[in-house]
């Protein structure tokens, strides 16, 4: 089973929830995948340092100047303006390239090969007793995160329980992260920002046809807007984590949130039962 933990707004508690879900439910075959590759934090929260690091590249064109006759076909077909043909050479802008491979395939002289352009790494950490943490980490300066997210998610595909800690927002990176998931747990907070961004995330999971449920974090009693949204969309509220200064403090210091708020264990176990129920 693959559960994506997402939110529209950043800082609502995705990483708190996904790391605690793993702590509560995980066994040696479970895996937590941090696909917030721009700013991965699950390792910090779990206090884990990666044991292995695997570089990830994506393809970019590599032009053989001896074979190229500067015909301009590659620049003409590139939809992303990643190739510019000058009078004496072809310039390649790796950061604009989407690695589609069209230029290499269609070059009349076969003067274009593809080479790897490093975009980031996949870090793997063993968590004794509750599985493996896989973290995608984008190189600073790289713009495109989906290829790294895809590569990170392709690891340990057969694990019985896969929890995906998603990036904020609702762009292609979030879609890549939640795709193929059996369920999407949306973590929100009872503020106007949380509500606004949650509505966008609900649109995203509906588009993908992934069943979802809500978890209200930092709950302080008043959540009528979220109840109304849940009623309107039919996406159930699975649980509420009460606002707790002790939990916030512990989390900020990198301490175990389940010790700071022992009731969290029950809240998450209950949510998992509801998810299993919804999927059966």
């Amino acid at each position: 089973m693959q559960i994506a933990v997402a939110s529209g707004k950043g800082g609502t508690g995705k990483t708190l929830v996904s790391t605690c879900l793993l702590r509560v439910l995980g066994d040696n075959n479970s895996v937590l995948i941090d696909t917030d590759v721009e700013e991965p934090n699950a390792g910090l929260v779990l206090g884990q340092v990666a044991q292995t690091t695997t570089p990830v590249s994506r393809f970019v064109p590599d032009i053989d100047p001896d074979s190229c006759n500067l015909c301009g076909k590659c620049a003409e077909i590139c939809s992303f303006n990643a190739l510019v043909v000058l009078s004496d050479k072809v310039l390649v802008f790796n950061e604009l390239c989407h690695s589609c491979g069209a230029c290499a395939y269609l070059c009349p002289l076969r003067a274009i090969k593809e080479k790897g352009h490093p975009i980031g790494v996949i870090e793997e950490a063993q968590l004794p007793g509750y599985g493996t943490l896989l973290t995608g980490r984008l190189n600073v300066g790289e713009a495109l995160s989906p290829p790294l997210i895809k590569a990170t998610k392709s690891q340990k595909a057969t694990s019985a329980l896969r929890i995906v800690d998603c990036p904020p927002g609702t762009t292609c990176a979030m879609i890549e992260s939640i795709s193929d998931s059996d369920y999407c747990l949306l973590v929100t907070e009872p503020t106007p920002f949380g509500l606004h961004d949650l509505e966008l995330s609900l649109e995203a999971i509906e588009m993908l046809g992934i069943p979802g449920g809500l978890l209200i974090n930092r709950w302080q009693g008043e959540d009528s807007d979220l109840i109304a949204l849940s009623d309107k969309t039919g996406v159930p509220i699975l649980g509420r984590i009460p606002f707790s200064p002790e939990l916030a403090q512990a989390y900020m210091q990198g301490k175990d949130p389940l010790e700071a708020m022992p009731s969290l264990r029950g809240i998450l176990t209950n949510i998992f039962s509801q998810i299993k129920g919804a999927l059966s």
Partner: protein
Amino acid sequence: MKEILFISGKGGTGKTSLTSSFIHLADNCIACDYDVDASNLPILLKPQQVSNHDFSAGYTSHIDEETCISCGLCAELCRFDAISEEFQVLPLSCEGCGFCEKICPVEAITMYPRSSGHWSEGVFNQKQKLFSADLRPGEENSGKLVAQVKNMARAMADTEQTQLIIADGPPGIGCAVISSMVEVDLIVLVTEPSRSGFHDLQRVYQLMQLRGIKGILIINKWDLNPDISQEIENWAQKNDLPLAGKIPFSNVIVESIAKAEIPATNPEVRKMLSPLWENINKGIGC
């Protein structure tokens, strides 16, 4: 004209609360929200006379069923798994590269422009302009939409002779953030004293350095963890990153946001943020 950008790396550190407050403290400025996939600044600034403009960037391919001979070449060559077994295009996966269109032996594939969302212009505080955008969920091109918002705001600043643009940035370090940094004069880094906040700050700081832009730091909610706050301060000092100030955790700010109000409309918050605003102004050379 000067442009100030607020970013944080990590989401939820208080960027929008602070950006809206400094927009309120500035004498006159144009406001921008570059967080195009979760735009929250308009919730606080409550713009009037909002006009929305469609934005399309890139293309999606379409396979004509009548013409298609199901040869499978497009599906085989597509790097994005965007063509289903029934030879239909999956718009969420399609990157719009047009490879399939060019190799289809029977010309069954066409590319059509893709609507990515819209950008908006509105008026707040009677006469000030706010530029923002809403990317459609699942869309790419957030960087291009950010660039569109920026171009419109800068053109308006030129026309109206406005001297300052204050922009709320997106979280992360990817395409939207890179695009929001273009032509910026000063970056205000908003962090919180947590392990995650500090880690994310350092990555976004590296990106800022790569782009050669000047920065200034705010530690928000510093008293929730004085130790990490001090660690961040030491790190900033070592890196010659000036500190605009530290803000204690404030229930007044939390309550303002719950009511969708700009925190600095409260006199207590205004008083607390004024010295930081002076430091930011010094940072930008005003």
